[in-house]
Assembly symmetry: C2
Amino acid sequence: MSSGNDRISAEERLIARYFSPLAKHPGAFGLSDDAAVLAPPMGHDLVLTTDGVVAGVHFFPGDPAADVARKVLRMNLSDLAAKGAQPVGFLMSLALPAATKKSWMARFAKGLGEDADHYGCALLGGDTDRTGGPLSIVITAFGAVPHGRIVRRSTAKPGDIIVVTGTIGDAALGVKLRRTKSLAKTWRLTRAMARHLEERYLLPQPRNALAAAVLRYASAAMDVSDGLAGDLAKLCRASVVAAEVDVASVPLSIAARAAIAAKPKLLERVLTGGDDYEIVLALSPARLPAVHAASKKAGVPVTEIGRLRKGRGVRFLRSGNTLDFSRASYSHF
Amino acid sequence: MSSGNDRISAEERLIARYFSPLAKHPGAFGLSDDAAVLAPPMGHDLVLTTDGVVAGVHFFPGDPAADVARKVLRMNLSDLAAKGAQPVGFLMSLALPAATKKSWMARFAKGLGEDADHYGCALLGGDTDRTGGPLSIVITAFGAVPHGRIVRRSTAKPGDIIVVTGTIGDAALGVKLRRTKSLAKTWRLTRAMARHLEERYLLPQPRNALAAAVLRYASAAMDVSDGLAGDLAKLCRASVVAAEVDVASVPLSIAARAAIAAKPKLLERVLTGGDDYEIVLALSPARLPAVHAASKKAGVPVTEIGRLRKGRGVRFLRSGNTLDFSRASYSHF
């Protein structure tokens, strides 16, 4: 029939063209139903997390579409990694301004599909809508952990060593550089250093390769996305422990070191800025060798930065002095 | 400690104040972790759905905050009901303009909590962000169905009877009334009729009370949210069947009947407009008595509107003629 009664809507066409090919999970029904179906693997729980981005808040409107897609998926994958979970799949809700071009959608879907394949996290379903505001994307991701084994924030113990993955503060500096290009000169950065910091903001590197080790060895863990200082404070509050961090041990990239050397005040930005998408773990000291071995195997560096003690509060120590930050973590509010 | 290192962020305060009290599911960890954990009841699958609203697109910016919260949750609950699933919990992602008032948040959280309790669908987690655009809310809801039993769109059979819940088209008329108050006069509506139509737009009545019957008796089902004509066409395409609908049988409210009597052209709007949040079911005729009994018990009216046949396409028949709509369903695109 060619009547309006049976015509496929523009929304259906958009989904069929760009997103159905990504719906490789059998429970997605090829995005042809109201809902998806999912059961965790036998003996496992599902881990659920949701994170969204808004153009102009979490990314620059001109950022490559493929990187925007990857960023929002990776923000969610980072939460799964920090909980020791293996990715299973995700739902996505898109609110698109009327001006969104087909070429943008095609590049967005391509980037999303590449990361979905790479991380083993298939599209399960979603929702697309128009918005009168900026483009925004919400992803809800699902992971699997053995039943009862999700790695919590609240289970760290006095005596545990504090470990972080990767390097801290790059993205917080990168977003400043994106806003004010001339800072690269002020901070005495080479072009490669500036690019490194900007790319760390544009595209997080979630540490899913280390998730199995987090599950096996961490007494507690969380993803570092709102600044190391504030996120570690959350972990300590949840676990009712105190932390002492040796600032000199916090892993920094060459670029971040250079910027701090030029402008020492940036140290606070590095320790309290957001968008790291690293993991902070609390570990019994006996497990440190096993974690270092897993780190080497996964190709994800880990660094000891301090120790948990009885008590409350987080102290960042430098040359015997305690740093006091004007704010502990990034907050949009 | 009173240093910035340990200060609770404004986002944490917002969550703790308004949303942690709603996180009654043990897997939500009181919203104090990166992620939630969920396992379906033994022998069950999880059904996943996501639906969002944007101020100015899906609701009017001045709508009561409690009703906005309920609407977005109920849009998701309607998908669960149509799949035969019992609600389990939900995640919510909020993008808030800077001007959002505390009193708005309090009323929003109150409405959300009341519906979460009423429908047995607890808050599991979420994400809050700032936006430079309109307020927007995305909910991802989880339901449970016995393993392998999710009710699909694609499993209807020739010979099945088509049944819909409630009444059709009220919300599509209600949103027109909201935009142009003077239409109430043109459509010769009493004040009570106009209010009925507007309220059907403001606050959907998802048919979760009928979900167990959908699971037990429907050969296929879907939620009617983008217009009966277009949604039934989707079900028919998925099931590779044709449908004949007797337009005179489509259940209409007294208000919708009055409006159509005054302006016969509104019939198309009623049959193709969105926001019904009813369920369309395909049923073997032998199961009709059981469905009527379940309908009576649940207090959710069901009405036979037509029949599925071999072939393709959906025909809406009135006095022997086939109606041909200019568009079959509501689409934002």
